[in-house]
C-alpha cells in the first residue's frame, strides 16, 4: 500500500487537493466490474444487470453513510462540477417563478461561479459575497444578503485553495429561516470533516470521488427528501436516477466511489490526526523563515492544507525550483491566465502575496520523511530565489515596496 509514491524519479506529491491517487483497495474492488460484472445496472431482465445494480446500490449506501444521508437521497453524477451545475441551475430553473435571486461567495469553485454566471445570462440576479480576510463568511453579512425572492444560496464546505471550513450549520439555518434552499459544495470536505446531513440544514450537497482516494469521473449530488428539494434535470434521457440525471451508470466508477467513501468513514479519525501532525510539522519547519504569511484561518481549517506566501519570491519560479515536490501555486503563471489567485485576492491579500503563494496539501501516503525532505528543499530554494530577487534587496535595504511607483504592465 505504501509503495505507490516511493519511486525516486517522481516528485513527492503534496497536491492532494488537486486529486488523490486511487487507494489500491478501491482499485481492487473496481476491476471485476470492468471485465466480469460488466452488466448495465438498468438491465432488469438478467443476472448481469442484477449484479451491477446490487453493486451500485451498495455503493450508494456507502456514500450515504459517510454523510449520514438516506441512500435514496444520493444521485450519481460525473463529478462535483456536474453536481454543482445540477444543484444550482436545477434548483434555480425549478423555482424560477418563486424568485430569481441567488447568493454565493467570491471564493467558491469555478463550477459554482460559472453556473451562477450562466444563470445571470438567463436573467437571474446573483449576489457574490466577500469573505472575511481569514476566508470565512460572516453570518451577519450572509443574513443581510438574503431576500424574500432568494431561491438558493451556495457556499462551499471547505475551500480548495486555503482549506478553511465554513460554518455550514449557521449559514444553512439562516437560509431556511428565509425560505431559501441551501447548496453546499463538499468536494474538498469528505474524509476531512464529519458531515452529518441528519443535523445540517442543507438541501443539496455536491461530492467528488477523486478527492477522497476514489476514481476520477464520478461524483454525486445529495438531494434532500424531507422536506423534498426539487430540481430540474440538466441531462435528459432514459430517466435514470429518478429522472434527475439520465445516462447509463458507470458501475465500476460508482463501486470505486462507494469503497473510497467507506474507507474514509472507517479511517477518518486516525488519518486526520496523523495528517494534522505532518501538516503542523511542515508549518513548524517553515514559520521561522522571514516574511512568510499563512493564507486563511488556521483553526477553522482542514488538517491537510497549508497555504503560505513567501514574500519577494514568485510562486511559479519557486515551484520550478522545488521540482522534487509536486505542489500548486496561487500565482498567475500556473494557468493560461495572468491573474493571481482570485481566492487570495478575495481575501484582500495584496497581489504580490498572491503571486508568492504555495499550496501544500498532504494525504494518505505522505510520510514524516517526505515532510523533512520538503522543509529542507523549500528553505534552500527560498534562500536561492531571494538572492535573485531585487524586491528582497529593497526590503533588506529598508525600501517600502508599496511606496515605489511601479509601471504596471
Amino acid at each position: 500500500m505504501q509503495t505507490m509514491l516511493t519511486n525516486t524519479e517522481q516528485p513527492i506529491y503534496l497536491d492532494y487537493s488537486a486529486t488523490t491517487p486511487i487507494d489500491p483497495r478501491v482499485a481492487d474492488k473496481m476491476i471485476p466490474y470492468i471485465t466480469q460484472h460488466f452488466g448495465n445496472p438498468a438491465s432488469r431482465s438478467h443476472a448481469y444487470g442484477w449484479r451491477a445494480d446490487a453493486a451500485v446500490e451498495a455503493a450508494r449506501a456507502d456514500v450515504a453513510a459517510l454523510v449520514h444521508a438516506d441512500p435514496k437521497e444520493i444521485v450519481w453524477t460525473s463529478g462535483a462540477t456536474e453536481s454543482n451545475n445540477l444543484a444550482i441551475k436545477g434548483a434555480a430553473h425549478f423555482h424560477r417563478k418563486k424568485g430569481q435571486h441567488l447568493i454565493t461567495v467570491k471564493t467558491e469553485h469555478k463550477a459554482v461561479l460559472d453556473s451562477m454566471r450562466e444563470l445571470e445570462r438567463e436573467g437571474f440576479e446573483v449576489t457574490y459575497l466577500d469573505p472575511e480576510p481569514d476566508g470565512l463568511v460572516d453570518a451577519k453579512k450572509f443574513a443581510a444578503a438574503l431576500r424574500d425572492d432568494t431561491v438558493l444560496a451556495s457556499v462551499m464546505y471547505v475551500n480548495n485553495e486555503i482549506g478553511v471550513i465554513q460554518d455550514i450549520a449557521t449559514l444553512g439555518a439562516l437560509c431556511h429561516a428565509r425560505g431559501a434552499l441551501f447548496h453546499v459544495d463538499a468536494a474538498q470536505a469528505t474524509g476531512k470533516v464529519d458531515i452529518d446531513l441528519q443535523r445540517l440544514p442543507v438541501d443539496l450537497m455536491s461530492f467528488s470521488a477523486h478527492k477522497t482516494y476514489g476514481p476520477k469521473g464520478i461524483g454525486a449530488l445529495y438531494v434532500r427528501r424531507k422536506p423534498r428539494a426539487r430540481i430540474e434535470p440538466q441531462m435528459h434521457g432514459g430517466g435514470h436516477e429518478r429522472g434527475m440525471r439520465s445516462g447509463t451508470l458507470a458501475t465500476h466508477q460508482i463501486v470505486g466511489m462507494g469503497e473510497a467513501f467507506r474507507i474514509a468513514r472507517d479511517e477518518m479519525p486516525l488519518e486526520n490526526a496523523r495528517i494534522r501532525r505532518l501538516r503542523d510539522k511542515l508549518l513548524a519547519g517553515l514559520r521561522d523563515i522571514e516574511e512568510v504569511y499563512i493564507n486563511g484561518d488556521m483553526d477553522q481549517r482542514v488538517p491537510h492544507n497549508l497555504n503560505i506566501s513567501f514574500n519577494y519570491v514568485e510562486g511559479e519560479s519557486l515551484m520550478m525550483a522545488m521540482k522534487e515536490l509536486a505542489v500548486s501555486s496561487g500565482s498567475a503563471c500556473t494557468s493560461a491566465s495572468l491573474e493571481p489567485s482570485y481566492v487570495l485576492r478575495a481575501l484582500g491579500r495584496p497581489d504580490e502575496l498572491a503571486h508568492s503563494s504555495i499550496r501544500f496539501t498532504l494525504g494518505r501516503y505522505t510520510t514524516a520523511g517526505d515532510i523533512e525532505f520538503a522543509v529542507n528543499i523549500i528553505r534552500q530554494k527560498i534562500q536561492k530565489l531571494r538572492a535573485l530577487s531585487p524586491l528582497w534587496d529593497m526590503y533588506k535595504a529598508g525600501v517600502d515596496i508599496n511606496s515605489v511607483k511601479w509601471a504596471t504592465h
Partner: protein, 145 residues
C-alpha cells in the same frame, strides 16, 4: 507548463546575478515590471570608456521564463555598444528561449529592461556633461526606471 531546456539552464544556472553601484556614473540601472504583476527585473550595465558594455548584471523576481530572459540578455549585451544593445528585440529573446505565447511578456520585459538601463546611463552622462554631479539615490533610480 513545461519549459525549454534553455529556460531551465538559465534558471538553474543564472548568469551574471548581482548588483552594481547605482550611483556610479558609468553604471546604468533599469528596473521594470511590478510586484503586483508577478515580475520585476533589475538590469544593470557598466559602460567602458570605449562606449561598450563591459559588464551586465541582473536580479529578477518572477517566473522561470522571466529569470531566464534577464539572464540571457546580460550575456547578450556584454561587449556591445549601447546602440547595438538597443537593437535587441524581444522576439529574438523569445525565439532563443522557445518561450510559449503566455510567456512572451517576459521577453518584452527583458527588452524594456535593456532600454531602461541604457536610458538611465545616458541621462547620467547628459547630467555629467552639463556639469552636475552624477549621483542618484537608489529609490529615485527605481522610480525613474
Amino acid at each position: 507548463m513545461s519549459y525549454s531546456d534553455k529556460v531551465i539552464d538559465h534558471y538553474e544556472n543564472p548568469r551574471n546575478v548581482g548588483t552594481l553601484n547605482t550611483a556610479d556614473a558609468d553604471v546604468g540601472t533599469g528596473m521594470v515590471g511590478a510586484p503586483a504583476c508577478g515580475d520585476v527585473m533589475r538590469l544593470q550595465i557598466k559602460v567602458g570608456k570605449d562606449g561598450r558594455i563591459d559588464d551586465a548584471v541582473f536580479k529578477t523576481y518572477g517566473c522561470g521564463s522571466a529569470i531566464a530572459s534577464s539572464s540571457l540578455v546580460t550575456e547578450w549585451v556584454k561587449g556591445k555598444t549601447l546602440d547595438q544593445a538597443m537593437l535587441i528585440k524581444n522576439s529574438e529573446i523569445a525565439d532563443e528561449l522557445a518561450l510559449p505565447p503566455v510567456k512572451i511578456h517576459c521577453s518584452v520585459l527583458a527588452e524594456d529592461a535593456i532600454r531602461a538601463a541604457i536610458s538611465d546611463y545616458r541621462s547620467k552622462q547628459e547630467l555629467a556633461d552639463a556639469g552636475y554631479v552624477a549621483c542618484q539615490p537608489t529609490t529615485s533610480a527605481i522610480v525613474a526606471a
